[in-house]
């Protein structure tokens, strides 16, 4: 066994990162395990970044309660961590008077959960505040507390802060088995679990085993498999695919709010979403599938999304689309599953965290902390918890005079790498220093390669910076981890 921990968190998505950050307040030895090359590369990377106000959840649901609480917590923690959170508000629109009854129900349900500021707005209000909206929209439910955040930067910054407070993060550590100690007469100091991981290189079979008193299973799409390792098999994760389409930043002011149609029983429908990067997003579809790795997009998905989005904002044009992707929501029935497993003492499942998982994450973290406390953990708070984090600098969101100041410290702020999104060499280097190891990792952190030219201009520049900073050959640079190398050969064999 390499090391023993008080707590091992399995899964480095937003749930795992938020739990890690919350628990890093205490004097605990914590490990966060992620199977991919970087954090947020699973479910979280395909999140649309909406911090929901708490509407559209069943009144007695766990997720309803956690969403409302999470909305408030996210706002506060985002401030502490220097992450952009924009409270843009949301509109749920209806096209005829008949739907007003349902809209009022949604309002009432949300108010029972404690969502504040809700009101029905009419055509006159909408024309003024949402001028591009289809004039046929009859009315809307306005929820001012809805917001947007960058889902990956949120995960990275939560995790960075957790690491700053002592959490150890292990990437490319895929849990392949969990062994429970046979004896139930536990010595308080002993590990109850042995977590076996395959490590790094997928071809070389190198394994490592870590001890833990508590395990928190936040493994997203694979939470059922991880849970099965300790004999808890009473739920399965079913992926529900969503295809999303990103529009050019030029259309940033397409809408002023996040716009929803009236929700259906299985999904919130096709939305027009504002993102914290400026590019509007339309989608997602909702399709139950079997394969947990099927991230393909389809012609039909595009058609459906365009149709749905244009119904709300008719001026959306297919030519505005600069990118698209598919994500998988890890569903396990209708609600979240967050519980201590009495049959496997010390094991906490955090499963089925579909929408509104991003919003709920900080509230889930509090709930998990309580579950730990109720099940034998007596954590003591650290004397000093560093709750603040220095805001990451992005040239695209600071004024030019600030850029000028920054360049006095480091001239490479003036060396532009990505022309579509205005990202400098310095920002790319910073991203690497903060943990980026792959081209996607750089993209999610800095937006370089995420613009309209899709890396046509900047890919080789970023690769060269990575090779230099990480001291690795160009042939080892990957898009998202081993197996996704960008190039096959280098003429220069000295570095190949």
């Amino acid at each position: 066994m390499r090391a023993a921990y008080d707590i091992i968190i399995i899964g480095g998505g937003v749930t795992g990162a938020a739990i890690a950050r919350e628990l890093s307040r205490y004097k605990l030895k914590i490990a966060l395990l992620e199977k991919e090359a970087e954090l947020a590369f699973g479910v979280s990377k395909s999140n649309s970044g909406i911090i929901h106000p708490g509407t559209q959840n069943p009144p007695n649901s766990l997720k309803g309660r956690l969403c409302v609480q999470g909305n408030k917590l996210t706002k506060q923690i985002a401030k502490e961590l220097g992450v952009d959170f924009k409270e843009v508000g949301e509109l749920i629109v209806i096209f005829n008077q008949a739907d007003l009854t349902r809209l009022l129900e949604i309002k009432k349900e949300a108010e029972e959960l404690g969502v504040g500021g809700l009101r029905i707005v009419d055509r006159l209000w909408l024309r003024k505040h949402e001028p591009n909206l289809n004039p046929e929209v009859y009315a809307a439910l306005y929820a001012p507390t809805a917001g947007i955040i960058s889902p990956y930067r949120w995960v990275y910054d939560l995790a960075e802060n957790a690491a700053r407070n002592g959490v150890e993060i292990f990437l490319e550590h895929k849990v392949i088995d969990i062994r429970q100690s046979g004896s139930l007469r536990l010595n308080a100091a002993a590990s109850r679990f042995e977590v076996l991981c395959s490590q790094g290189n997928r071809e070389v079979n190198s394994q490592v085993s870590l001890g833990a008193k508590y395990i928190i299973n936040a493994a997203g799409l694979y939470a059922d498999e991880i849970s099965g390792m300790v004999g808890i098999n009473d739920f399965t994760i079913k992926p529900r695919k969503g295809e999303e389409f990103i529009l050019d930043k030029k259309r940033e002011y397409l809408s002023n709010h996040i716009i929803f149609p009236l929700p259906s029983p299985i999904s919130k429908g096709i939305l027009v979403i504002k993102t914290s990067d400026g590019n509007p997003m339309i989608g997602p579809t909702a399709q139950e599938i079997e394969d947990k790795e099927d991230l393909s997009t389809s012609d039909e998905g595009l058609k459906k999304v365009l149709e749905g989005a244009k119904r709300m904002i008719p001026s959306i044009d297919e030519n505005d689309i600069i990118s698209y992707f598919a994500g998988l929501r890890p569903t396990a029935g209708k609600d979240f599953i967050i519980r201590h497993e009495d049959k496997a003492p010390g094991f906490i499942n955090v499963a089925g965290i579909q929408s509104p998982g991003l919003t709920s994450a900080p509230a889930i973290a509090l709930m998990v902390t309580n579950l730990l406390k109720n099940n034998g953990l007596k954590p003591r708070k650290k004397w000093f918890f560093q709750k603040y984090r220095q805001r990451t600098i992005h040239l695209f969101d600071i004024p030019f005079n600030k850029t000028k100041e920054l360049m006095k410290e480091d001239p490479s702020y003036g060396e532009i790498v990505c022309r579509c999104e205005m990202v400098s060499a310095k920002e790319v280097r910073d991203a690497i220093k903060r943990g980026a190891r792959t081209l996607d990792g750089i993209k999610f952190r800095t937006r370089a390669q995420a613009g309209r030219c899709h890396g046509g201009f900047c890919t080789t520049r970023i690769m060269k910076i990575m090779a230099e900073e990480l001291n690795i050959p160009l042939t080892e640079i990957t898009k998202r981890g081993e197996g996704s190398e960008i190039v096959k050969e280098n003429r220069d064999s000295r570095t190949a």
Binding site: K250, E293, L295, S296, T297, S298, D299, L302, D317, E318, N319, I321, I322, S323, Y324, F325, F400, T403, K404, M407, P411, S412, Y413, G414, E415, I416, R419, C420, M422, S424, R452, C453, H454, G455, G456, F457, T459, T460, K464, L474, T475, T478, K479, R480, G481, E482, G483, S484, E485, I486, V487, K488, E489, N490, R491, D492
Partner: protein, 304 residues
């Protein structure tokens, strides 16, 4: 460069040439194949040779100040430019402005090719840069989408570098490239060219594994295993800067709305070369860019 030289010859004394790369010459530097300059220089040159002839002219003219690694981040309708270069943020006002910002490639995303998003899907121009400038080979088994000249030339380039080009897929009924290129880039190496076909889906988790090719006439499909998909489906003028200055832009073509070559909706801003429209021949780019230099000189005389 052609516009700067022409403007100087027409009497302009104070010219600043801003280039965002560390070298002059732009995309010509990565176009190492021949076929450039037959009209302008009456010689069959490679891209770097064509660029070099202009670089030498620029270097010989003292009135032209060249600023490399200079990236314009803002442009106003009054022709005030803000640009960044390592260690510096400059703001300058131009009396006349010539935009020669070229074009960018249409992407996989713009053609909405379904499937996964693994490594190994590259715009053809990026692959060209990887091979010719960086000496890197992006893939070993390649399928190329689009039979324009860039696609054809990259088919030969990959083959010469030791990769296997499985096919060129063209949705139209004939090639958009030169016949010479079809013969010398594809037929020379027995590379199949499929007309009226499209890529219906890309497969692969980490790296491209195969593509599904569909006959657009009868709907029949077949799979081609490959590790790389090159996208060569056209070019778009790059005009986001003048758009920022509120120049009227045609939404379909991304070119400036214009009544006369090189002109746009703001007086004194001239747009030339591939940013004005996508040209087939560099010689024609040069011809019209020379005109842009002269037009700018005329415009400045009119101001006095």
């Amino acid at each position: 460069m052609a516009a700067a030289v022409a403007a100087q010859k027409a009497g302009v004394k104070d010219i600043l040439l801003l280039e965002r790369d560390q070298y002059l010459g732009g995309i010509l530097n990565q176009c190492i194949h021949t076929g450039f300059g037959l009209h302008h220089f009456k010689k069959d040159l490679t891209g770097p040779e064509y660029a070099d002839r202009f670089i030498k002219q620029i270097e010989a003219i003292r009135d032209i100040e060249v600023s490399l690694k200079s990236f314009v981040v803002r442009l106003t309708k009054d022709k005030i430019l803000t640009y960044l270069k390592p260690g510096k943020l400059e703001e300058i006002k131009a009396k006349a402005l010539i935009m020669a910002t070229g074009c960018r490639e249409r992407t996989r995303e713009m053609t909405h090719i379904s499937g996964t998003r693994p490594a190994g899907i590259y715009p053809a121009g990026l692959a060209q840069k990887m091979i010719n400038i960086e000496g890197l080979l992006p893939g070993k088994e390649v399928v190329i989408i689009g039979s324009g000249d860039i696609g054809l030339i990259m088919a030969r380039r990959f083959t010469l570098e030791g990769a296997k080009v499985k096919a060129v897929i063209e949705i139209q009924e004939k090639t958009r490239g030169l016949i010479r290129n079809v013969v010398q880039c594809l037929e020379d190496f027995s590379i199949p060219l499929y007309f009226r076909h499209r890529i219906a889906k890309i497969y692969g988790k980490d790296r491209v594994e195969k593509v599904l090719v569909e006959n657009t006439v009868n709907g029949e499909t077949f799979e081609l295993p490959c590790d790389t998909v090159l996208i060569s489906v056209g070019l778009i003028p790059e005009n986001e800067l003048i758009e920022m200055a509120c120049v009227e832009i045609d939404k379909k073509t991304n070119a400036p709305v214009s009544k006369e070559v090189n002109k746009c909706s703001i007086e004194g801003i001239f747009v030339c070369g591939n940013s004005y429209k996508v040209y087939d021949l560099v010689d024609n780019v040069t011809r019209d860019s020379v005109k842009a230099g002269q037009m700018a000189a005329e415009y400045l005389k009119g101001l006095k």
